[in-house]
Symmetry: C2
């Protein structure tokens, strides 16, 4: 079956990507753009930067020590997308492999001399994921054989001993290769990598061991910490190991860490990571909007983790967080043309930045999206994720189909063949049409934010609360289920322990977080406040729903020192003008109109 | 005359350090501890880490590429303190100098191959400052000769061309050497270094040219930006060049940049720098308390700059900022025992951190002070600044004495010989006693925060507003002036554009910023709010004045997601207890009782 994650047990079972055909719509359009534009864009840049040339032996070698991994993520994207450029690129990679399976364009000749920062096992992890994708979509070929040889080399080299890699990902890759091949050594190697970490397994680094989760063993940690992508890839691998080995304690540990992280270390967009200096989570409730790191790859890693936990437990909260992160991180990073990307996804930008200067702007900070980066993990990660995004849409739960994410498409499982019609996330109506006669349970996720949803089928309509709304029956072709989700825009308030957004509110509508953007003649955002509870009027811009609310515009006090003996309110002292209109756009669309300032969290006018 | 900064013109003129004798008191105690403990502590660590051994040719060379500069800052401290360890250490340094004046333990053999990051001219800058200090306190010796040879080498190598160093400091060092020797080539070299920067003079770096102020020429910039220490050292050198060359445009440019930076990019402590990733200022109003970088060295650099602008212009605002930064950054970094230091000086710490693990904790982030760092610029910078802190206390203004900073001591200038008696900053009474008959103007700074000060002398008392309170006369031994500054604790509110502290207040008393610290059984600070306007009761702890106010303690709402449909107030919904007492201590004393949480900005209970 073609799917990135195929556990051998769990409450829910994945469907093949061919059993979930996404048609034009919010995700369908992005899948098509990815296949037609982004994959080729990535390959062009990997040629231009010499990262593919490294595999051809071109010298001097170019790119960072982990640049091989970008080619592997691109190969994975090509595999899921059945892209015609795959075979030639796979051959180029295969020819660079050494006789014993070792493969790295940077470290050949000084193998494994810097496990903390060398990223050799990290690169294998992505190679193996690409190989699994190819195996499941095509069957054996040079890419799958390269991946297997690399995995076997890893097992020979690392099965004994105490070592692991500074950057996790090999763990989940090896478990998936075990699932794809049945060879138990891969699972055992993955298990050992998971268990070694934190004993500790790595040397000291100046960022401290928590940076690469080597401070405490995985099953003893209480929250995700350190480098966000590393933490979430490791947790994903730990879930995979736990599921395949029946290690309920390990699974529970990750569930608990997920719960604490979501309650205390997650931005309202679903984004994770607050610190630029080490790309890390930061402390509980340290969630600055302006310096939110919220790396695109951390968002992807969070979706990967939540999906694994959803499969293992069937708990709707994992699908809820995946929805939030899909719509507000994954959909935000690429520009509308699929040719430039945010690396960091901050929730506020105070200064309109000039376009990125070549690849210098490491994280496209505060500015426009960048076509490529010197550390360019995000574009190819987006490419492979969009190419396989159908995996998150629906699963089976034994005798039925559960629909977790709403987007137009067709879903087949057993006797059930369903067509989903929806304008989601702009419209809250999700229509599921039965295409063939058949029996089975059909379940539709009701998101936690949907407090007054209804489900209509068989002539009746009933209220359905957050969770999964189920309908069981013998279905006839032409039968319909219609889920109605309430799409009124909502004012959202932060927990008061989040210092960085105290006195502010955000606006959400359906699964989308909204923001104010000032790109042209809109009011300067530093001088805008809102009154939560005010009307949020909807305006259709094509299919996109924008919002408008009444704002208070207050020119700030002039002053030579920004700390004073009295409160600096929005009460008109400084010429505040109530009644100005403030437009709010979906956060994932910001930054597509040129240099701009932006805010998700808006001060409350007091 | 012995003083680090001796401009040839300006509204105010420095006094010799021997003309300002600081006696026991707030600063006198710190000066003594520095001389008796900190200087030796630094030398011990520089031996232990091998950084002094590098000068003896010990191999492998140890420490970062700029470690030589630490030895030079220590030598400067020893020169001002007339420390007996200086001659031997100076000889060690002198012996490492090459025949043509080149001196660097890291780059010898590959000179000037990486001006962006190599720090060779930066190291010379500190060497020259040490040499000037020795020349002015002792006269010629091996240290001064080494410094002069290095400066001459720099002039020969860099006078022509377009190059400069990635880290400024050579500029102000060369101007001071010009002032000390009269050799105009040093001034010209400094002038060229200042003018070259921003043309640009350096290569591309991944952090962008603004990092080392090479984005625009010094006189065209509008605010300090990029790496805070670099920016403030460069500005100090630019003021020195402007003063010596009569370049009023350049002086005005730095004054304007200072003004904008103080109004928009300065923490309430006077600390500067908001970003950890590149130790930079950040954007206007980007002033997060928890991630305030506020590097100790940036505070010192800010004091150096403000002092230069004060000398040039006589404008009290520069002395006001210096007071704030002296009391809330310089006094904060060293522990009460003078043997450990904060590198970063955040305004909030949420999680009590374990003691730093060796030197791994680069910036003593969020934790206890660290005895040393892998990048250990701060301890020796503190040592040289405390050893010469008398320079900031008083100046002449032609025919009189101006007292800028209040601390017990004796000040002599012309016919005036004065004794200052005060318990400042705990007490607001500053008594200036005339020790000998004489004439001349005596001026005392009235800080901007002192809205109801009075000055008593000659039998009368009059109100004096912020600025300088002056008294002119023929003085008799025994005459007294008594300045009374209002020391009621004050609630301070932020400009509403500072997103990170919206809805919060701070407490100040005199020049001191206060904070809440939770080190033992005090209430957890995440659950504390205050009501500004409430009484702030004073409690004496020895000479230290602590404060107490009524707080609202509210256990936070439990929840799996920290964003909700209604406000999360302090109104008792979650079992808030009004009426609890909250102790506030001077910010500079926090972190001396073991691992603790801390907050300067306190949420307002609404």
């Amino acid at each position: 079956m073609a799917n990135p994650v195929l556990p051998s047990s769990g409450v829910l079972s994945p469907l093949g990507l061919d059993a979930v055909r996404i048609t034009p719509g919010f995700w369908g359009d992005r899948v098509a753009l990815n296949r037609e534009v982004t994959i080729a864009h990535c390959q062009e840049w990997m040629e231009r930067t010499g990262w593919i040339g490294n595999f051809r032996g071109e010298r001097p070698r170019r790119g960072r020590e982990f640049s091989d991994s970008e080619i592997y993520k691109l190969l994975e994207a090509m595999a899921w997308a059945d892209h015609p450029a795959l075979p030639e690129l796979a051959e180029t990679v295969a020819r660079a492999q050494e006789g014993d399976g070792y493969l790295n364009t940077r470290w050949s000749g000084s193998r494994y001399t810097d496990l903390e920062w060398g990223h050799e096992l990290y690169c294998y992890g992505h190679l193996i994921q690409a190989g699994v994708a190819r195996l499941r979509t095509h069957g054996e070929d040079p890419l799958t054989r390269t991946a297997v040889r690399a995995a076997d080399h890893v097992c020979r080299r690392f099965m004994e001993g105490t070592q692991t890699d500074g950057h996790p990902v090999i763990e989940m890759a090896l478990v998936e290769l075990y699932r794809a091949t049945g060879a138990e050594r891969y699972l055992e190697m993955a298990r050992r990598f998971v268990e070694r970490r934190g004993l500790p397994a790595l040397g000291e680094i100046h960022l401290g061991r928590a940076y690469f989760q080597d401070d405490v063993p995985v099953r003893q940690a209480t929250a995700f910490r350190g480098h966000a992508v590393r933490a979430l890839y490791l947790a994903s691998g730990a879930v995979d190991v736990a599921v395949e080995t029946g290690d309920e304690e390990l699974l529970k540990a990750i569930e608990d860490q997920w719960e604490r992280t979501v309650a205390r270390r997650t931005h309202v967009t679903g984004g994770m990571g607050s610190r630029h200096a080490d790309e890390s989570f930061g402390d509980d409730y340290e969630l600055p909007p302006d310096r939110a790191y919220s790396e695109t790859c951390a968002g992807i890693a969070s979706i990967m983790l939540s999906h694994r936990l959803l499969l293992a437990t069937g708990d709707v909260r994992y699908a809820d967080l995946a929805e939030r992160t899909l719509h507000n991180v994954l959909a935000t990073s690429p520009a509308l043309d699929g040719r430039s990307f945010f690396y960091a996804n901050p929730l506020a930008v105070r200064v309109p930045a000039p376009p990125p200067d070549g690849m210098v702007n490491h994280a496209a900070q505060g500015g426009l999206r960048s076509p490529w980066f010197d550390v360019s993990c995000c574009p190819s990660n987006i490419a492979r994720t969009l190419a396989s995004v159908a995996a998150y849409v629906a699963t089976s739960d034994g005798d039925g189909v559960r629909i977790h994410q709403f987007t137009p498409g067709e879903i087949s499982h057993g006797e059930l063949r369903l067509r989903v019609e929806t304008g989601y996330p702009w419209s809250g109506t999700v229509r599921v049409r039965v295409l063939d006669d058949g029996t089975g349970r059909i379940s539709l996720r009701v998101p936690a934010w949907a407090s007054s949803a209804t489900l209509a089928h068989g002539g009746g309509t009933r209220p359905v609360g957050p969770g999964y709304a189920e309908a069981v029956g013998s279905w006839r072709a032409g039968d319909e289920l219609v889920l109605e989700l309430p799409m009124e825009a909502r004012w959202t308030y932060p927990d008061r322990r989040i210092d960085a957004v105290r006195g502010c509110v955000a606006v959400e509508r359906g699964p989308l977080v909204y923001c104010a953007e000032s790109a042209g003649d809109e009011p300067p955002l530093a001088e805008v406040a809102v009154r939560p509870g005010s009307a949020l009027a909807e305006h259709a811009e094509g299919e996109v729903v924008e919002l408008e609310t009444e704002a208070v515009l207050g020119a700030p006090a002039a002053g030579s020192w920004p700390y004073r003996s009295g409160p600096d309110g929005w009460d008109g002292d400084h010429g505040a003008e109530p009644g100005a209109a403030l437009r709010l756009i979906p956060y994932h669309r910001w930054g597509n109109r040129g240099p701009a300032t932006m805010r998700v969290w808006l001060p409350v006018a007091d």
